[in-house]
């Protein structure tokens, strides 16, 4: 009996000290405390999962998710994504599809995505990358989300793309490495962008040289694309005065000098309950020029001017804060004007307006601008100015650059036409706003007046 008890004690010691730590580190399905694999599984599925059929159950669940995609039942897909990634954390496609789905597909009536989901999409990407550290894919996908969807905070995009770039298997998709150079540009790291173009060019040239028979068209195309981009960047560095600035020479005569007067002003009219009309002036060439307009809670968490930090920790939570409001819209500019009616009345769950005070933000980041506009504005906005409202040009919003930023307060009573605003049409104007009789929004009847950017 005593020997049996001693053995029992020994097994307990051996199990907890010698076996469990290794199991927890290498074989546990639990990555963090809330990730117990059984959550959300039916009894039969749980039994199968426990019996070792985790990948199999994950596969069946993902097939089920496909049918939900087909029927547009997007809410039903979220728990399946979570479950599949618990059961089989190496399902890279599920992580990638899940990130895309969460980040892009939850939209309002006017196809504006619900940005409150972005932290979850990012957290899913981060978790996927952590679970699959040997492949570039989820690092790339997370970087892509920062670059394409968030289109701001480029330092984050660079971080993830650098991680992706360090993985061996990205060499199987060489063109994907090119994006990092673009991101360095967006992040204001022009020298790094140039160096990276040279690096990928050398690799592309070597791969092309290895293909003795010249049968692989992609190798040639990739090399030529990189060469073209490299040349273009060098020309831009020259024309935008990058080299001159480095050598402390005058920027006189370069494209960014004299700075272009963007002449920004805006008027916001609450035309109906939860419906706002945003009108304004913006002297910049139409094509590809969009001003970001944000309407959010004044105390929206983790916020930065004109956007958000979005990266709110590694916890994947598919249920965003239903009490906060965050609307983001792009104001398309045509003939120096923008005029957009934003209707938030049909989607009360996306725009609940629980708080009392809100902020209207107008933001233009020259690093997100298309190349032809950047040719005048420069990478860091050095070619922008606003003569009438110089306070709109800010250098304290994003490090190392000048951007347009204007913040206007608006109250819940104004948006919902309640209290003293009942029966009125609230109007909020920025300084220097001037109305115009011209109808710039219809080119058929309006007068086209497209200025060029080069010089004044």
């Amino acid at each position: 009996m005593a020997a049996g008890l001693a053995l029992f004690g020994l097994q307990a010691f051996w199990g907890s000290k010698m076996v469990y730590p290794g199991w927890s580190q290498n074989y546990s399905p639990v990555q963090s405390g809330k990730d117990l694999i059984t959550g959300g599984l039916g009894a039969d599925q749980m039994l199968f999962a426990l019996a070792g059929f985790r990948e199999f159950i994950a596969g069946i669940l993902w097939v089920r998710a496909d049918s939900f995609f087909e029927s547009g039942n997007y809410d039903a897909i979220l728990p399946i994504i979570r479950l599949v990634t618990f059961l089989d954390p190496h399902e890279i496609d599920v992580y990638a599809t899940g990130m895309w789905h969460i980040g892009y597909n939850f939209t309002d009536e006017e196809q504006r995505s619900d940005r409150r989901y972005l932290p979850s999409a990012l957290a899913l990407g981060e978790e996927g990358a952590k679970q699959n550290p040997n492949t570039y894919e989820l690092y790339f996908e997370t970087g892509w989300l920062w670059y394409h969807k968030i289109d701001d905070n480029y330092d984050k995009a660079v971080y993830w793309m650098e991680q992706a770039d360090s993985k061996q298997d990205i060499l199987l998709q060489p063109a994907r490495r090119n994006l990092l150079s673009r991101l360095y540009e967006r992040n204001g790291e022009i020298d790094k962008a140039l160096n990276h173009w040279y690096t990928v060019y050398d690799i592309a040239q070597a791969a092309y040289d290895e293909d003795k028979d010249r049968r692989n068209y992609q190798l040639r195309q990739n090399r030529d694309t990189i060469e073209n981009n490299l040349d273009t960047l060098l020309i831009r560095m020259s024309q935008r005065g990058y080299f001159a600035e480095k050598e402390n020479r005058s920027l006189e005569g370069y494209d960014v000098n004299p700075p272009f007067d963007v002449g920004f002003s805006v008027k916001v009219t609450v035309t109906d309950e939860r419906v706002i009309r945003v009108q304004g002036n913006w002297n910049v060439l139409s094509i590809g020029s969009r001003i970001r307009c944000v309407l959010r809670d004044a105390n929206f968490p983790n916020v930065i001017p004109g956007g958000d930090n979005w990266d709110k920790g590694a916890t994947v939570n598919f249920d965003p804060d239903r009490q906060s409001t965050y609307m983001q819209e792009q104001l398309f500019v045509r003939n120096q004007r923008f005029d957009k009616t934003i209707d938030m009345s049909r989607d009360p769950t996306m725009y609940p307006f629980f708080g009392d005070n809100y902020v209207l933000e107008f933001y233009y980041n020259p690093r997100s601008a298309p190349e032809h506009i950047q040719d005048k504005f420069g990478w860091n906005g050095e070619g922008m100015t606003d003569k009438e409202n110089p306070t709109n040009m800010r250098t304290d919003i994003r490090p190392g650059m000048k951007c347009l930023y204007l913040s206007l307060p608006i109250s819940k009573d104004q948006i919902l036409l309640r209290g003293k605003y009942r029966g009125t049409t609230p109007v909020i104007r920025s300084a220097g706003y001037h109305d115009t009789e011209k109808d710039y929004t219809h080119t058929a009847t309006g007068e086209a007046d497209i200025p060029i950017l080069r010089g004044q």
Partner: protein, 261 residues
Amino acid sequence: MRPIIAIAKATVGEAIRRRVLLIILFVATILLFVAPLLGVLSARQEKTVLTGFVLGIVQLSSAVIAITLTVYMLPNEIERRTIYTILSKPVQRFQFLMGKYLGAVSALALMMGLMACVTILEFGVMQHDWAKGIELLQGIGMFFVQMSLLASVAMCLSTFVAPLVNFFLSGGIYLIGTLGYAFFDSFNKNPNAPAFSKGLAWFVSTILPNFASYNVQNKLINPETVIQNQFAYAVNAVVYGLFYIVIMLIAGMLIFDRREV
């Protein structure tokens, strides 16, 4: 030692003649052959799902075989009164129990060996990947230790519990034992877990055998996974299993020794 070996040999002969075990084995083999067709159910490589599914079949069918094989061993001998013939010979009760257990484990080894052969053939012939099939022997080997542990639990219980109750009890212990570490780990990694739940999970995972220790498919299903000290872990897990098997057999012997048959 000779009586133990004789009883073990007889037990193996008896086991391979039992139709119910052969049917389970047959079904498992059929499922192993069908497994490649299920690869379409995954967004990932078919081979990943196939590997996971094949290992799952081997594990599940081995568990059913291990329990079915052992729960009836002692009760049948008592019911058919053949135990009197054996115990009237110069055979101690502990020798009888040891022989039965070793026979059960040997029969289990035979059946799992057959499944392992089918698995290797499946990967080699159908997937043209003999190396992968042979690599899976690591996982099947660990399953064998797991099933030996399960057999020892069922054997111990069979000394004082009716076969049907034993069947479900052993199955339940296997289920909890498979979950034990996962629950404990879940609480352990969650800083907000209540201390009571954490303590309870620790208690359960300490008392009951941890069958999850032998689920080492990670590396086999996902070759890119980096496992730290794989060999040392395997040795520790096997030693743990041996400790527990010895405990179960000692307990079984003590109970069986005091039991009237």
